[in-house]
Symmetry: D3
Subunit: 185 residues, 6 copies
């Protein structure tokens, strides 16, 4: 798992959640977690979460901290664990800055002060498992009341880089764990 922070701002419109995003645009091969900043503006036709499609609930926010994870030959059944785990890593890191009482979580959604901080989805291409997770940086542009990193006093870039590196360390640890246990009956 390679962490890749992209300095240029990218508008996330859903088409970034696709196989080989990091390789095609930045030449980074293999399992990767990409981070960048930019608005989110996903039209219904690009939505991956069919629950949102059914409820005609497009995603938008004026400025977000985005993460894209790609893991090759990982199926959706495993990828939802990767996604949920990453949400918990984000949550764990947030508790370093923010009082635990003001944070809450419901599945893949993180809340600050009762307002939604995050969006997240996991899916697959025929070649890889994919996750998109994003945290609001600014309080504007969303169809519902949201919280954001700005009001929490958290620097998005520094936070993003830190979480990505921590995630890669976790993955490395799990890769090793796979190969040092005997099986049981």
């Amino acid at each position: 798992m390679t962490p890749l922070w992209i300095d240029e701002r990218i508008t996330y419109d859903g088409r970034q959640l696709v196989s080989h995003f990091a390789y095609r645009r930045y030449g980074v091969m293999g399992d990767v977690i990409v981070g960048f900043r930019g608005p989110a503006d996903v039209r219904i036709s690009e939505m991956v979460d069919l629950e949102d499609v059914r409820q005609v609930a497009p995603i938008s926010s004026d400025e977000m901290l985005h993460f894209l994870i790609e893991m090759f030959e990982v199926r959706l059944g495993q990828m939802v664990w990767v996604q949920r785990f990453f949400i918990l890593i984000l949550f764990e890191h947030l508790t370093r800055y923010i009082s635990r009482e003001k944070l809450s979580r419901d599945g893949d959604d993180i809340f600050y002060d009762g307002r939604k901080l995050s969006v997240s989805i996991a899916t697959v291409s025929p070649l890889s498992g994919l996750v998109h997770t994003a945290l609001n940086i600014k309080p504007t542009g969303a169809p519902i009341p949201i919280s954001c990193l700005e009001e929490m006093g958290i620097d998005p870039t520094e936070f993003g880089r830190t979480v990505m590196e921590a995630f890669c360390v976790e993955v490395e640890g799990m890769d090793k764990a796979r190969t040092k246990v005997r099986w049981v009956e």
Copy 2:
């Protein structure tokens, strides 16, 4: 995923980390998380973590809160994600009781006040993925300095039941997430 709390005390000696533990002894079928209290006393010959075997580091503690997870037809590559995720769920729950600064985590190990609180291992049988995780309840019986739920003022049974139920809710959520997203290119 069914939560199964066992009231009888069981000495965990490693032989409980085996396929169908819940079904053979309690008639509970399918994916399950089992919780119980009791000492831990795992001899080298029963150790699953070969790193511990290499370092001749047997596991013992006078009283622990044990969790056993069994998931059928899940391979080790996914089971290490299940394990790490469960550790984060434990951690998240602990932060409800304990000041965040006194808690830390290094991979699958949770620390309180700098002393080790937990042990954990993931492995497979030819039929299922298996996790054992346990938290010290009392401060005695371990070969190294440990922390324990007692000094943290946490009731083991209540904590255990709460975490198990929360874990099952998470799994249910992930099972649903698997079936409501379209694939991407």
Copy 3:
């Protein structure tokens, strides 16, 4: 596996054999067997069976009892067993109404009185395994001589609902069977 009977008539033109048909249109999540009535009219460009494509053998029938099965993360190698098993369930149920001698089967095709009663195909999307099976209700609209439920005196809706529920009971039984056997050497 959830049984979902749809009262509205739907023309099966092949585009229903797609991932998330039940969820997108009816909000039913997860593994599902859908039943409905309506004509079949599948153009060559929508055919899934390449043997039919090669022989330019489009599928049509004026009124059919349709079944769609979707099972998430099941590959084609297993899905052909699901399909064949479902055909046998249909056959078994037909023998409750119809003299055994008048019924025959050749792979996935059921015949009554020597005339074809059924069509069936199994395939996959990148997310799920899919089966379409349909029985003629009326004798008209097909390019070959066919038999139909009408001449057999079988009520399509009642028959459809009964078979779907029976199939779900079977699947539930197999799910349990998976978790109650020890492995062997």
Copy 4:
């Protein structure tokens, strides 16, 4: 899938349900369905069905028609479909000889005249999926009231060979079906 009829009588005591039974003893390689006649006498320690173990319900019958199926690199989740499918093939063949009203089925159990005719189990070795299914030939030797092929007037050897060959034809058909459909979205 190769059909292998063994003329020698073999006592089925559970140890035949093991990988490479056909290859080790008869030199037949690969996916195979083996048929033979002989008593069944399975002690609790050899039982694969843990439900029977829990209920201390050993299996015995003085003379049975046995089938063993081995499929390499097939997991239990698929093997229970293979098992259930094979039961339906047996049932379908029985309806050629016996009035449909006198036959019934409950999951993997076939009944004649309300008495149990069959036993069946599916499991895995680390290398293959395995099924054992047997039909009583004689009415004696079982702990419960049973029916048998003798009273049904069915010749066990001829019936066994016929069913095995029919099963192999079905498997061949499914193998082909796997490779002649296009995928869908």
Copy 5:
């Protein structure tokens, strides 16, 4: 694995690397290795190797010996082994005609006299694993200096047929090897 030599000349433009190529056009079902002669002219939009896409390195050659391999339900992780193995089979066969010193190999690329002789790619469709490998027959039409079978004095058709048959024998041997070993601890 069926060998299929096609006598008609086909221009390989990338669209042949698709599931069911052999079945759709020639009625050959199942795992297959197809061989034919013809030019190669793959535009960037049809390129499968994203490294070549990134470097804007289209593939062309006036006359090549083409091989297409399709294996159903084989994932990319295994298919890259199939590809590399096939390259080694080609190399081994070339050493029967050509002095070993004049041949070299770097991964999937074969060189004669220091000039590139081959192109090769492995990928997947949602149903199958796919490989395209081709050897230059003539020295013209490529954007880089190439070697070719003509200058090596090798008859393309005979060489192609021989290699395809040898490959099928290898695959048959591996299929058998899968079913005649016991597992170990």
Copy 6:
């Protein structure tokens, strides 16, 4: 894939073909190819190839160059490709030292001057795929006429190290190839 050359001589008696051999004895974690020198003396009870067991053909040789490959979570169906590929790598390297005409290969067996040079087997543990391949170093100790590296003038240790490193480079290349191709329809 890590290459691990072991300087101490080890008698290969079959018990080395087991999961975690490199980790348990030498602390090397993960996918690994191990090389060492020593006699081979495998009793029938330790044989993995059931064909040899059936023919009561034990393996022995006074001095061999041994290779053990372990790849975690790789099944037998893929491992036989790994094995065959490694044989071809050995063969390719031998042709650098030895005239091509004196070398031949039949599946996994390499011959020099018509006499057998190698033994090889692939199998699995419940956690990993495993290969053992060995080349005779001396001409003595085998039940059949053999060839050996000594008469070929090849230094076993240097040859072993070179091949192991080349193999690791190949594996690295295939790992990358997995992540740089788009999928096709």
